[in-house]
């Protein structure tokens, strides 16, 4: 008998056709991930632009005017909204018309001319505190520029203002504040897309794989074909292993397409070892398949499988370090994050793209995925076998 045996081959073909033959489900496998990668790569950014800022300039002197005009010329500002009183500032912020408002005091120019410290109040919208903090960083850089130019008058263009980068990217104020030389390794201009594109690829691969496998057993059970499978000579181990194949194939192809889109479409540099990333991708998918099959073997309907995927997938993404770094989380959640395959895969993914992650580091994150895969696949087999009781 040749390997794989005709029995296993038949099941693999069946599984592949189940997801691939129907044009609708085929479209749902290909279309949305690509669409999402495009939309979300552009949408998900922590760089600021097109910001509206409120200005209340109570100072009649030169420097108040200078600050306002520099602010108006800054590329991250879309427009300035003039305000004439604290009440107006309050109203603008309440109504979310501006992200922040600056209040320049009457004595501003006078203080500066007299070489006294002059302070400008910045009121920021705490409802959008994250963006507000970033904006504050930009404003600080802008003021830093003003200070520098005041002491040494400008020669030509002011290079300290944020400039449009070559790829339409923002050069965030390289915070060369007084006495600090900042170097951002791996991503010198802190292009957010370099972070989001590889990571999003990982998340999308996870969801597609999870859904395909979670539905596979539940669908057979709901439609009655599972009984047909169970009366055939196929063993539970075979059933689980053959359900692994299409998900593995789909996940791998999708993972590769996503990586290619990152490198060639979004220009994210790939510095690591491709074969190592490929092996990690396979491990990652196998561990996800195990989770998907576990969900599937517990659920009796497709609806339950879908909701189960959801209830597992969303928290997994949130804890994986995709949204915010794992080390910001409490100890307990950091522990849980270690048993989520995505956590490890994201590290390998980001590392392979930007950091030329060495093999030893990849190995350190690959073995947990292998362990998760071994546990979940065995559990799924046990669940399928228990259906025969």
């Amino acid at each position: 008998m040749s390997w794989p045996s005709p029995r296993i081959r038949a099941q693999i073909v069946k599984e592949l056709l189940s997801v691939w033959r129907d044009p609708k489900s085929r479209f749902l496998l290909i279309g949305p991930p690509i669409f999402q990668l495009l939309i979300f790569s552009f949408a998900a950014t922590l760089e600021l632009r097109n910001v509206a800022v409120g200005v209340c300039n109570r100072d009649n002197g030169r420097w108040g005017h200078e600050l306002v005009s520099r602010l108006g010329a800054a590329a991250f500002v879309r427009h300035l909204r003039p305000a004439h009183s604290a009440a107006e500032i309050r109203d603008m912020l309440d109504r979310r018309l501006v992200l922040a408002a600056i209040d320049i005091p009457e004595t501003f120019s006078r203080d500066l001319v007299a070489l006294r410290p002059a302070s400008v109040q910045v009121i920021l919208d705490g409802r959008r505190a994250n963006s507000a903090q970033i904006l504050l960083g930009y404003l600080n850089a802008l003021v830093g520029g003003l200070n520098a130019d005041r002491t040494s008058p400008p020669a030509g263009n002011d290079s300290r203002l944020p400039l449009e980068g070559a790829g339409g990217e923002w050069l965030p104020p390289a915070a060369d504040r007084d006495g600090l030389a900042v170097r951002h390794w791996f991503n010198p201009n802190l292009i957010y897309r370099w972070f989001i594109v590889p990571s999003l690829g990982g998340v999308l691969v996870m969801f597609a794989t999870l859904l395909v496998t979670a539905l596979s057993i539940a669908r057979e059970r709901e439609l009655g074909t599972f009984d047909q499978l169970l009366v055939s000579p196929c063993t539970p181990t075979e059933i689980v292993l053959t359900k692994l194949v299409p998900a593995l194939l789909i996940g791998t192809v999708m993972g590769l397409v996503m990586a290619a889109a990152g490198v060639f479409g979004f220009g994210v540099p790939f510095t690591g070892s491709f074969p190592l990333l490929f092996c990690s991708l396979l491990l990652f998918i196998v561990s996800i398949v195990g989770i998907g099959l576990m969900i599937s073997s517990i659920c009796s309907t497709q609806q339950q499988a879908i909701l189960g995927t959801f209830a597992m997938g969303v928290p997994a993404v949130l804890m994986s370090g995709f949204a915010t770094p794992v080390e910001n989380m409490p100890q307990l959640l950091q522990g849980i994050a270690q048993i989520i395959p995505l956590t490890h895969y994201l590290i390998i993914l980001q590392g392979s793209f930007l950091k030329a992650l060495p093999a030893s580091e990849i190995l350190a994150h690959a073995w947990p995925m292998a362990a998760i895969a071994a546990v979940t696949l065995s559990a799924a087999t046990v669940f399928v076998r228990s259906k025969l009781q």
Partner: protein
């Protein structure tokens, strides 16, 4: 029923008038220029082969679809122009009745009552009436999903009856219902027609059609016959014969009889073979044939089914190409299937209680019983879908507990739902079945081509099984089940809802395979099918209460009458006998 009795003249007014009705789906005419009349106070049977347009007509009458041409008037209201009035006048029970499985019996009833805006007092009275009527009283708190098939149908009927409709449309209410529950359904429907309700009963079971007042026979979207069933049956006078106890083997005799030019239809009835001659055929041929098999052709009264098959051009021939090409089965032992004190408990509930029987090689063994009697559980344990709590199940001598994979490769399984992969094409389904049972390479290819040829599947190879007519779905399911030439075949309600012509073709194949030595285990609610069995086991309350040849059981139930009862009556009689025996001691205690 609390409905006031209809006046005698109202009994024959038209409840539904259908004039020149055509319904098109794309380029296909599901119904073509159909004219019919359904009368109040009568039970009208809507019969026809699969795909004849029965369900489409039902939906049109319920106002759920709009005619492409022509009109339907329900109690004088046009279903197209006056659509809003139809639901208040009609009760409609779709094929898969819309019971909410996660709601209890009483919650389902309440929902449909409130949808029909019944008042509170009407409700209480109505529920009591319907619960008594359906005998569902003790189960009001049970989830609908946990009811047996028969109880589900009765609950569906109760929901449709909620507003005391003047027109009741029932789409295949008898599918999956055991004879005892079916009797209940009949009783309910008869009470309704007596009250002047027009009842339309769509069915593929012709013994059901025979009990209707009038029958509308549809074929390919047109009316083939309309009138009382006797009228059709009468045209068959002197053409039905019974060949009692033919030799050497009634299956072979049937197969040869069906190949006679003068024979149009034939079935097995216990030890006898029943044949119907073609129109104008001479009885000479059948008499000679009967003599050659050591018996005589005894004229018997025709049945509606004979008329139906005749009207549709006769049944299929008697030769199964499938069986002919099959190599004879060789088994080491004489026993194909054996169960030893098979017991299965679900928590406190015992589904099967020490069930034991043996099935010999080349036997057709029937497993009958009311819904919930434990036959499905027994069946599932025999083909390895369930592990027994105690006892052993053996297939061709292999224990399902210890040699599951080996035992499973010796059996073929065909389920009620046909269990085909809707996401795969017909050919891909065949290839999957072949592969799963280890066929490979040229052997696999030849076998698949053979199946396609035998079951005439060429035209459908690229379609999904879901798009196939029911008859073809059944053929495909059988093809998948016998792909690997299993010595033992398990059939779970294999012809549920399938029309008589397709059913005959199916049994021709089964008979042929049995003659080659295949062993068949079948569960069915369809008593004509039980007649094909060599022996049947009747299960009731988790136990086997009778096990014998069909005719022997009939004799047991006949209590000395010269005329043997039908299989259906035998079934009911045996069940009632057990109920009586169980109640007797209780009654004595009270006394």
């Amino acid at each position: 029923m609390s409905v006031t009795a209809a006046s005698p003249e109202a009994a024959h007014t038209a409840a539904i008038e259908i004039i020149g009705l055509t319904k098109r789906f794309g380029a296909v005419d599901a119904l073509r220029d159909l004219t019919a009349r359904i009368e109040a106070g009568r039970l009208t049977g809507l019969v026809g082969p699969d795909g004849a347009g029965k369900t489409t007509l039902m939906r049109l009458m319920a106002g759920l679809m709009r005619p492409s041409a022509g009109t339907i008037r329900v109690l004088g209201h046009d279903t197209a122009r006056d659509a809003g009035r139809i639901p208040a006048l009609t009760g409609y029970m779709p094929q898969r009745f819309g019971l909410y499985e996660d709601l209890t019996v009483i919650e389902n009833l309440r929902l449909y009552a409130r949808l029909r805006a019944l008042g509170r007092t009407e409700l209480t009275a109505g529920f009591d009436r319907l619960l008594t009527f359906t005998r569902l009283g003790p189960f009001t708190a049970r989830l609908a999903g946990r009811l047996s098939g028969g109880m589900k149908q009765k609950l569906g009927l109760a929901c449709a009856l909620m507003a005391e409709p003047r027109v009741l449309l029932l789409d295949e209410p008898g599918v999956g219902v055991d004879p005892v529950s079916r009797q209940d359904l009949w009783r309910m429907v008869n009470a309704l027609t007596a009250d002047g309700v027009a009842v339309v009963w769509a069915t593929a079971y012709l013994d059901e059609a025979e009990r209707c007042d009038t029958v509308i026979l549809l074929n390919a979207g047109q009316v083939q016959f309309s009138g009382p069933p006797d009228e059709l049956t009468a045209t068959l006078a002197d053409r039905s014969f019974r060949l009692p106890q033919p030799r050497p083997d009634r299956r072979l005799v049937l197969s040869r009889a069906l190949d006679l030019p003068s024979v149009c239809d034939g079935v097995i009835q216990g030890e006898a073979v029943r044949v119907v001659l073609r129109q104008g055929a001479d009885r000479q041929e059948i008499d000679t044939f009967a003599e050659s098999v050591g018996t005589a052709a005894v004229p018997v009264p025709p049945r509606f089914e004979d008329g139906f098959v005749d009207l549709l051009g006769g049944g299929p021939g008697g030769t199964s190409v499938l069986a002919e090409r099959m190599a004879p089965v060789s088994l080491a032992g004489e026993l194909a299937v054996e169960c030893r004190a098979l017991t299965r408990r679900f928590g406190e509930f015992t589904a099967t209680d020490r069930v034991s029987f043996q099935v010999a090689k080349g036997e057709i063994f029937g497993l009958l019983g009311p819904n919930g009697a434990g036959k499905s559980t027994t069946f599932k344990m025999l083909c390895g879908l369930l592990k027994p709590t105690a006892g052993e199940a053996l297939v061709t001598g292999l224990n399902l507990r210890t040699a599951a994979s080996a035992a499973k490769s010796r059996l073929g399984y065909m389920a009620q739902k046909f269990s085909l992969y809707g996401l795969l094409s017909v050919r891909q389904n065949l290839e999957f079945s072949a592969g799963v049972y280890g066929l490979d390479g040229a052997a696999k290819h030849t076998r698949i081509e053979e199946m396609i040829e035998i079951f005439h599947l060429q035209a459908y190879l690229k379609s999904s099984p879901d798009e196939l007519p029911l008859g073809y779905r059944q053929r495909l399911a059988l093809a998948c089940a016998v792909m690997h030439e299993p010595p033992v075949l398990f059939l779970d309600e294999p012809t549920s809802g399938v029309d008589p012509i397709t059913r005959r073709e199916f049994w021709t194949h089964i008979n042929g395979m049995v003659r080659k030595g295949v062993t068949v285990l079948v569960t069915t609610h369809f008593m004509d099918e039980a007649e094909y069995c060599d022996r049947v086991a009747l299960m009731y309350r988790a136990r086997v209460i009778a096990l014998d040849a069909p005719d022997a059981l009939k004799r047991e139930a006949s209590a000395g009458d010269s005329e043997l009862p039908t299989m259906e009556n035998t079934f009911i009689h045996l069940i009632e006998a057990i109920d009586a025996a169980d109640n007797a001691p209780a009654a004595q205690e009270v006394a």
